[in-house]
């Protein structure tokens, strides 16, 4: 895939009034269909720092949704639920800008809202080499253990946990 010049995007919140566009992006990017609960949670939380659209030339061309999850010992992690960019706009560093903005959001609030957050994590289907490379070589994520049968309806159903220590 050719990595052409960067297309600078702007970010915007995901709300009740435009959540349908999130559905469109996810439908176009992912082989899995997400549950209503996922969309409900994203809309209700209304947290532009963690869930956002990427806009280019007035269109929503990508989206990233993350949330704070509890881990052992009263600690927390930033979990990336979805990160997708429409096919026509890939290879233009838009995904990079989305992830970077979440990192930046963490940095700005690491002593406040995210004081208990130690790492960022996500799951990637084991066959998705592009994604694995994206996170590991660009952002320094570590490939962790394989989780078997994570997915119900796609093949292969297994995935890797990718994580990065933030402190």
């Amino acid at each position: 895939m050719t990595a052409g010049k960067t297309l600078t995007v702007e970010f915007g919140a995901i709300t009740q009034d435009n959540v349908e566009q999130l559905r469109k992006v996810n439908l176009a990017c992912f082989p899995v269909q997400y549950q209503e609960t996922y969309y409900k949670e994203v809309v209700e939380r209304r947290d532009e720092g963690l869930c956002k659209f990427a806009y280019f030339n007035g269109f929503v061309v990508g989206a990233a949704c993350a949330r704070v999850e509890n881990t052992e010992g009263d600690r927390q992690r930033l979990y990336i639920m979805t990160l997708g960019v429409l096919a026509a706009y890939r290879g233009r560093n838009i995904g990079k800008q989305l992830i970077q903005s979440i990192f930046d959001h963490f940095e700005e609030n690491k002593d406040g809202e995210f004081s208990k957050v130690d790492e960022m994590a996500l799951h990637v289907q084991i066959s998705n080499d592009d994604a694995i490379r994206f996170y590991t070589s660009r952002f320094g994520f570590v490939q962790g253990e394989m989780v078997e049968n994570y997915y119900r309806r796609i093949d292969p159903p297994h995935c890797y946990l990718l994580y990065k220590k933030l402190r």
Partner: protein, 798 residues
């Protein structure tokens, strides 16, 4: 209100000579909108106390509201003589003279007033009121025929006190041009451009009057972005002259202006035009301009009768050289982008993905102009696969699907697009409109309610906001479903809005004179005089007329609720019929009561949450009262208004004809035919009514022989003095020859052929089928009605 009436009447009975009572009586009538009664009451009061300024003032406002202009002038004169030290009285008197057409008189009144002011008085100094008064006086001077020199001199004299510099410059330009002095206008035009009016197309047109000052009159009535360059065919030298002007005068200082870039494109030809078009389109494709196709369609001009017309029939569009050029250019961009992501093969850098999206979108738009719906939809499918979040694409896709005949699918598409951005009021309105057209009125109400106030009934809110487009759409929806009462109710709501528009001017009569905004005020009066010309009023009135005519033609529609004729039945049948009728009535009343109870309850529940006022329950929600009116009388009423105020619309005369024929007023019908002919003699509606008149007019009763004689002689002229079958055959021959003949006209002629037996059934059918789809006027509605016509001929031809 009834109490007030009763009390006032009592007061009058006690003392007929009390001017206060009459005054109050007049005020009461005024608030009831019985203006004529109010004027009578005021005049009575004045007979008793003729110097009462308050009464005179109230009377004058009513007189101008009712446009009793001579009366208004008299009243204002009286007031002025009673109180000459009031500035307002002078101005109002001048206004009265102006409205009555006594322009010199108006000017002299203003001058006398100005004469009463001492030197150095604040009213004479530069300021808003002095400025407005001066410009008003100037405006009156300009209205005097051929008086531009005096107006111009006055303009120069008052330059220092005028604050509205823009109006001053515009007026100066106009006067110079009307006097044929372009040189004088030049300075003013330059100053207007300098002050930021570069996007004002009228100023550009006036700039172009350097070619011929005589064109100025047409120049400032051009709408929108039309200029002289795109309206009047110019010679090569004229174009070169203007181009030179734009290059040297305007481009250096105003190169950023959209208008300055766009207007010269109408002046170049051949390769220069191609290049400028290429640059123009590419720039907008990269930026991403949804209205680009609409903008480009303004280049599709054709010289008709010495003036350019914009083409919109796909037949004409497809054949226009600029359209072909555009298609060539855009197809070139598409293949170039596909190959290596560049708009032009020799471009330096690649385009972002959005450019390709906009290019496909533009191509789909061009397909729409040419009525190539499947090709357009294919293009849009590519767009949606590329960027499924682009709301504009859904809108165009829905429009194409609608144009190709499937309104229900179009609604689905549009609704999907709307769902992507629920804050977008525009797409919500579009969805609502489409739903109304598809007969889905409850869904439509659902959608539009997303944007109405939170409290109260949304339909009531739309009524209060005078949302005419919705009410017209809903009325048309009901009419299609044959819910005549409800439809009439909605059309009448729009008519009521217009009555309110007329009514609302009342407060301005006092206010504007006080604030000395006399120019704007006279414009408002002129607007109100022409209020009934508006589009929405025409649609409402014609909707009402069509329904009433339908009810007149089919009286059985209304008879379902009526009691059967008992005298014709035997005793036992009568008893049975009465029992059935009573049962039906009780059931209907029960349903009504239940519904009203439910509405009241829900209004209560809603009212408990917020402090909104409970909306008045509409007594006659189904419009039953409207159905009871005499249909022909109502139709005649509206038709008269239209004929008086909308004479330039073709539809007005179609309606006048239809109403007149049913009333046996053949002179009116004939007048309508003549008017139709002068407006558009190729129109299918005109043709079919010609045939109708020829066949019906002899058999109409209630027509005096004298009238018959006159009409038959005049009517023969319309038929070119041929007998009807020959006329029809001639028309058919002409239609066959001319491949461009519109589909509706073909269908109308075909029907006439069958009716008058002027040719075989086969000939009639062939007229429609051969080349029918290749001419003008081919759209879904035309095709549907042509198909209906063919079906009417018998199963063979269909």
């Amino acid at each position: 209100r009834d109490e007030a009436h009763a009390l006032v009447k009592e007061g009058l009975m006690n003392d007929m000579r009390s001017h206060v009572c009459w005054h109050v009586y007049g005020l009461l009538h005024r608030s009831d909108r019985n203006y004529n009664e109010a004027i009578k009451a005021y005049k009575q009061a004045l007979r008793i106390d003729s110097d009462n300024i308050q009464i005179l003032r109230d009377l004058s406002m009513l007189q101008v509201q009712m446009r009793d202009l001579p009366g208004f002038a008299v009243t204002r004169h009286n007031i002025l003589s009673l109180k000459p030290n009031g500035k307002i009285n002078w101005l109002a008197f001048a206004l009265a003279k102006h409205l009555n057409g006594d322009l010199r008189g108006a000017v002299s009144v203003i001058d006398i007033y100005l004469g009463t002011l001492t030197e150095g008085a604040p009213e004479l100094a530069r300021g808003f009121e002095a400025s407005e008064l001066a410009l008003y006086r100037n405006k009156i001077l300009a209205e005097i025929p051929d008086n531009y020199k005096e107006a111009l001199d006055h303009l120069s004299a008052c330059e220092n006190i005028v604050v509205d510099r823009t109006s001053w410059l515009m007026a100066r330009t106009k006067y110079h041009l009307n006097l044929g002095e372009y040189a004088g206008a030049k300075g003013a035009i330059a100053e207007m451009f300098r002050s930021g009016m570069t996007e004002n197309y009228i100023v550009h047109s006036m700039y172009m009057c350097v070619l011929d000052s005589g064109l100025c009159k047409e120049a400032w009535s051009l709408p929108g972005t039309r200029t002289l360059a795109s309206y009047v065919p110019l010679s090569q030298e004229q174009k070169e002259k203007l181009l030179e002007g734009y290059k040297t005068d305007l481009f250096p200082d105003y190169g950023f202006s959209a208008a300055v870039q766009r207007i010269p494109m109408n002046l170049v030809e051949g390769d220069r035009f191609r290049n400028s078009l290429d640059v123009f389109v590419r720039k907008k494709l990269v930026k991403g301009v949804p209205s680009l196709c609409l903008e480009l369609s303004t280049f599709l001009l054709e010289d008709r009768n010495g003036r350019y017309q914009l083409l919109d029939d796909p037949y004409d569009v497809k054949r226009h050289p600029t359209f072909k050029l555009l298609v060539e250019l855009v197809d070139g961009y598409i293949s170039s982008l596909e190959r290596n992501k560049k708009l032009l093969p020799d471009d330096e850098h690649e385009e972002p993905p959005s450019t390709e999206l906009w290019t496909w979108y533009l191509r789909a738009g061009l397909h729409e102009l040419a009525a190539e719906y499947s090709e357009g939809l294919a293009m849009l499918e590519k767009c949606l696969e590329h960027t499924p979040t682009a709301v504009d694409v859904y809108e165009l896709k829905g429009r194409l699907v609608k144009s190709s005949g499937d309104i229900k699918t179009a609604v689905e598409i549009l609704d999907k697009g709307r769902d992507l951005d629920r804050q977008d009021r525009y797409i919500n309105n579009q969805t609502t409109q489409y739903m109304l057209e598809a007969g889905m009125e409850s869904d439509a109400l659902n959608r539009i309610s997303l944007f109405t106030k939170h409290e109260g009934n949304p339909e009531a809110n739309l009524y209060d906001m005078q949302c005419s487009w919705y009410e017209l759409g809903l009325a048309a929806c009901y009419a299609k479903k044959e819910l005549w009462g409800k439809s009439l109710k909605k059309y009448s709501a729009v008519v009521k809005h217009f009555d309110d528009f007329n009514e609302d001017q009342f407060d301005f009569h006092a206010y504007c004179v006080r604030k000395v905004t006399l120019r704007a005020y006279t414009e408002v009066l002129r607007f109100e005089d022409n209020l009934w010309e508006e589009d929405y009023y025409f649609r409402a009135a014609s909707g009402i007329i069509c329904i009433y005519l339908h009810l007149f033609d089919n009286p059985s529609i209304l008879e379902d609720d009526k009691e059967p004729d008992y005298s014709k039945l035997t005793g036992a049948e009568r008893k049975k019929a009465k029992a059935i009728a009573r049962k039906k009535r009780i059931q209907a009343e029960k349903k009504e009561a239940e519904k009203r109870q439910k509405e009241a309850e829900s209004a209560d529940n809603g009212g408990q949450k917020k402090k909104g006022k409970a909306s008045a329950v509409d007594e006659d929600a189904d419009g039953k009262e409207l159905l009871k009116k005499n249909p022909l009388d109502e139709a005649k009423k509206f038709s008269a208004v239209l004929s008086k105020h909308c004479p330039k619309r073709f539809g007005t005369w179609v309606l006048q004809y239809d109403v007149a024929m049913r009333r046996s007023k053949i002179l009116l019908a004939l007048q309508a035919l003549y008017r139709m002919k002068s407006l558009d003699d190729n129109n299918a509606e005109y043709f079919s009514r010609l045939v109708d008149f020829a066949t019906k007019s002899d058999n109409l009763k209630d027509v005096s022989p004298g009238v018959h004689r006159v009409t038959s002689t005049e009517f023969q002229k319309l038929l070119n003095h041929k007998p009807l079958p020959e006329f029809v055959a001639a028309a058919a021959g002409k239609a066959k020859e001319d491949k461009q003949t519109s589909l509706p006209l073909r269908a109308a002629i075909a029907k006439a052929i069958v009716k008058t037996k002027s040719d075989s059934l086969e000939a009639a059918t062939n007229l429609i089928l051969n080349d029918g789809l290749d001419g003008r006027g081919v759209d879904v509605d035309a095709c549907r009605s042509a198909l209906q016509t063919l079906n009417g001929f018998g199963s063979e031809s269909a």
